[in-house]
Structure formats: structure tokens, C-alpha cells
Symmetry: none
Subunit: 270 residues, 2 copies
């Protein structure tokens, strides 16, 4: 089988979106459907994807059904936030990534970071980051939560207590107007609290839809967060709360990024 520049990217897209269509890839790469079909056939033969009419999907193990749906929710906003957030994460530091589809998107964006120590209680993130040889991945122990591959419970908390992170990147289930960070699962709350306690700096990544959700358990409030990454301007009340407690708000899509164009002439830095 020949190698292609496209194949790794196809897998990446499949991981992010849960599926790929021939049309989507044709447009993305600017090649003919036949070429994409060849790629997909080869990827399917090597077991990396599963072929379906019109495209391909991840070789799913039935677990990920509800999970995939959630992952597709607000996908583009999540990728934008993730990209922005990843740009704020320095190389050569220790980072914790917790459970959540947003943090998974961030993990994907960290694939080209260097010298990181990433600790996570999310088995999906471990899987994603195992593709980056420049990152040392540590998984916390814990009870496996089937719904999302998270590791929760006493064991997770206990493991986290043994570390000290330069940076924690956390996601959440919901956000209230008055700055409370909320979660559905009381078990996960304990874990998130432990994470914040052990971290020098805290990033929160949450798309705007989180403001429209309600969840029962409070993890923390925005005053404990250093930078809050989101995709739309939060309500005035929330902004005020952040200003008062010195929490910086970073908005994805706010400042247009010349990233692509600059690539060719970008700096040396080795």
C-alpha cells in the first residue's frame, strides 16, 4: 500500500467528526472521488476505518452511539475553541485534561505540541495523544464511565492528588449566568475540584450552548478560572463577574487568524 499525505488527515477528520463522506473529502482535498475511494478502501483494508456507502466511519464498538452524537453537537464551535485554547498552551509543561468532548478537541489540537506531560482521566484523550510521540501521557485510575470513556471516582481523585500541574484545562456540562461551573455527574465534580486544587493555572473551555443548559452539581465558579475560552460573547452579568475576579475571556473567531498564510514563512525556532 502506498502512503499518502491525505491518509493521516482523513483519520484525523474521522476521529473529530465520527465519520467522513467521499464528497466532504473531495472538497477538502480537491481531488476526484475515485482517489478518495482508493484512500478509504486502503484505510479500511488496514482496519483503520470502516467503509460505508458514501464514506467511512470509525470502526465503532457500539458504545459510542450516544457519545458520537454529543461529539457532533456544536462541532465547529468546539474546534474553534480548541484551536484557540491550544495556542495558549505552552510547550514543555504539565497539563491536565479532564472529561468532555471539548477537551478531546483540545487534545487533537495538541498533536503537534512538544515536551508536554499530559495527565488525563479521559481514555479517549489518551488514545488521541498516543499519536504524538513528543507528549508523555499519564492516565489516572478510576472507574470507567461507559458513556464517555471517563475515569471517575475515588481512585481518580486520589491519583490526581499526587500531581501538581502547571495548567488544568477543564470542560463542563453547563454554565450559569452568575458564573457557576456545573456538571451532571456528582462523581466528576469531585475529580474536577481535585484538579483545580492541584493546578497553578486553570483554563475553562465551554461553547456558548453551555449557558443554555442546567446541571445539578457545582464544580467551581469562574473566579477560580484564569482564562475562559468560548465562542460567543457571554451575557453582561457573566462578563462583569469575570472582570471583577480577573478572569480573562478569550473568544474564538474574534481576531481573524492569518495562520495559514504565515505558515510558509514562519519562524525557525529549534
Amino acid at each position: 500500500m502506498g502512503q499518502t499525505l491525505r491518509k493521516p488527515e482523513i483519520i484525523g477528520i474521522a476521529r473529530r467528526e465520527g465519520k467522513v463522506t467521499v464528497d466532504m473529502l473531495v472538497e477538502h482535498f480537491g481531488v476526484t472521488p475515485q482517489t478518495i475511494r482508493r484512500d478509504l478502501t486502503e484505510l479500511a483494508n488496514s482496519g483503520q476505518l470502516e467503509r460505508v456507502h458514501g464514506g467511512a466511519v470509525l470502526p465503532s464498538t457500539t458504545v459510542n452511539i450516544g457519545y458520537n452524537e454529543r461529539r457532533e453537537l456544536n462541532q465547529s464551535a468546539k474546534v474553534d475553541i480548541a484551536r484557540l485554547c491550544a495556542r495558549h498552551i505552552p510547550h514543555d509543561c504539565s497539563v491536565f485534561l479532564n472529561i468532555g468532548t471539548t477537551t478531546e478537541a483540545i487534545a487533537t489540537e495538541l498533536l503537534h505540541h512538544q515536551g508536554l506531560l499530559v495527565v488525563t482521566n479521559n481514555t479517549n484523550i489518551a488514545l488521541i495523544l498516543s499519536a504524538n510521540p513528543n507528549v508523555e501521557v499519564v492516565v489516572t485510575g478510576g472507574n470507567l464511565r461507559r458513556s464517555d470513556g471517563g475515569l471517575v471516582g475515588e481512585l481518580a481523585k486520589q491519583t490526581i492528588a499526587q500531581f501538581r500541574f502547571d495548567l488544568a484545562v477543564i470542560g463542563c456540562s453547563a454554565l450559569s449566568e452568575d458564573g457557576d461551573i456545573l456538571d451532571f455527574d456528582i462523581q466528576e465534580v469531585g475529580v474536577s475540584k481535585a484538579i483545580i486544587r492541584q493546578s497553578q493555572a486553570v483554563f475553562l473551555a465551554a461553547d456558548a450552548s453551555k449557558f443554555e443548559r442546567r446541571a445539578p452539581a457545582k464544580i467551581a465558579d469562574l473566579s477560580e478560572v484564569d482564562v475562559f475560552f468560548t465562542d460567543k460573547t457571554p451575557s453582561g452579568r457573566c462578563r462583569e463577574f469575570c472582570k471583577m475576579h480577573g478572569t480573562e475571556i478569550e473568544m474564538a473567531g474574534e481576531s481573524p487568524q492569518p495562520h495559514q498564510a504565515r505558515r510558509a514563512s514562519s519562524h525557525v525556532a529549534t
Copy 2:
């Protein structure tokens, strides 16, 4: 610009972008494609990049390829052993499964067991068993080993020390004639020792090819094992050792199985 200056920068670009194309580098350095190709070829020869048509990518995929190949090694023997072993594992008990493709095969066979608590330091097993809602899965913490998704190191050992298992099912890299159970990775040895220490009963699953391998680190010897599952009659010396220490040997394929027909049609599916 000298070659010595280009190569490190090419690697840097590859790290940042995940890939490099000949065209991109031609423009970047202002040299001919020929020169870039020479650089890429040399970088590929020294294993720093992987050459693809039109450019090069990071050699991240190589890790998984090695693993997939290993998984397919002796596949049918592994499935036979796994099936036999799974039949000896009772319902409603606590089991530890360690790293290894054989134990992964066993996990697959446990998909219809009930009331199990499975603790594992193998992320692949966690993924496999998440498909069975009747099993509570606990993952130990640890450093992620990319080569096989195993969790090793101090954290893993420490987590294991907190449990007490009814049964440990372990695999290994190699077996010596005089009953030593061996492994390639010294880190994993510590983990395996901890597992045995915490377990009421110990199952060892290893296909016959393990007798032909050599590995540097000793996990334990067969006297510490209660039942040894394999696919071919071990050497006389090994049988004698087992008999002397009361280690039972269970051979897959020994007693004809009425499920033979089903076996053929059951594919790998991972």
C-alpha cells in the same frame, strides 16, 4: 544555506504542521525539489520522518503498525486459549487482566459474563469491556505505553496495591523451559508482581510460541500460577515443574468443543 541548517528546521516544521510537502519546503528554503528530496530521504533513513509521495509525515503510525502485527500473530491460538480461559472464569467475581494481546482476547470472550469487576492496566481492554454493561471496569493509573496501550510505572503498581482480586489473569512475553515467566519491559514486571501478590488465584495465558522467545525480566515462575492455559503440550521439563508445584495445565483444543462451528465464523472485529 548548509544542509545542517535545513534538516533540523524540516523536522521542526514537520512537528508543528504534522507533515511537510516537497513544494512547501522548496518555497521555504528557496532550493530545488531535488535538494529537498535528498534531505527527506536522509531524514527518513535515519528514522526521523516517514517518507510519503510528495512529502513526508511524522512516523507516528509506525507504533500502531507494530502493535497490529503483533496482535495478528498466532491469532487463532490466542482465541482458542482465550475461550478456554474465559470458561474457567466464574461470574460475579473480581478479576485483574494485565497487558498483552492474549489477555485482550480473553476480554473479548468475557463480553457475556455477568457481575464481574474487572480491573486492568490495559486501555484496550477497557475499550473492549465497555461494551459489556454487566461488567464494572476499573482502570489503574499509570504512564501510557504507546506500543500497546498499557499503563505502567509506579502509579499502576500503587493502584493495584489497593485491591484484592479473586483472580488474576496474566500474559507474558516469554516462558523459559524451567518455568520462569518473563517479560520484555522491566516496568511491567513490577506491575505483574504486584498483581500476583494481590490475587487469590492466578491464571497464566500464553500460547506455545512464548516458549521460543527470550525476554530479560522475570515476573515470577510457574509455581506461583494456579492454572496455565496454553495451546500445545509444553516440554517434559515444564510439565514436570508444574506437576511438582501443583500448577494445573489446561490445553486449548484438547477436549473437542461443540462450539467449533461458531469459532470459524467469529472474526476478529477490532
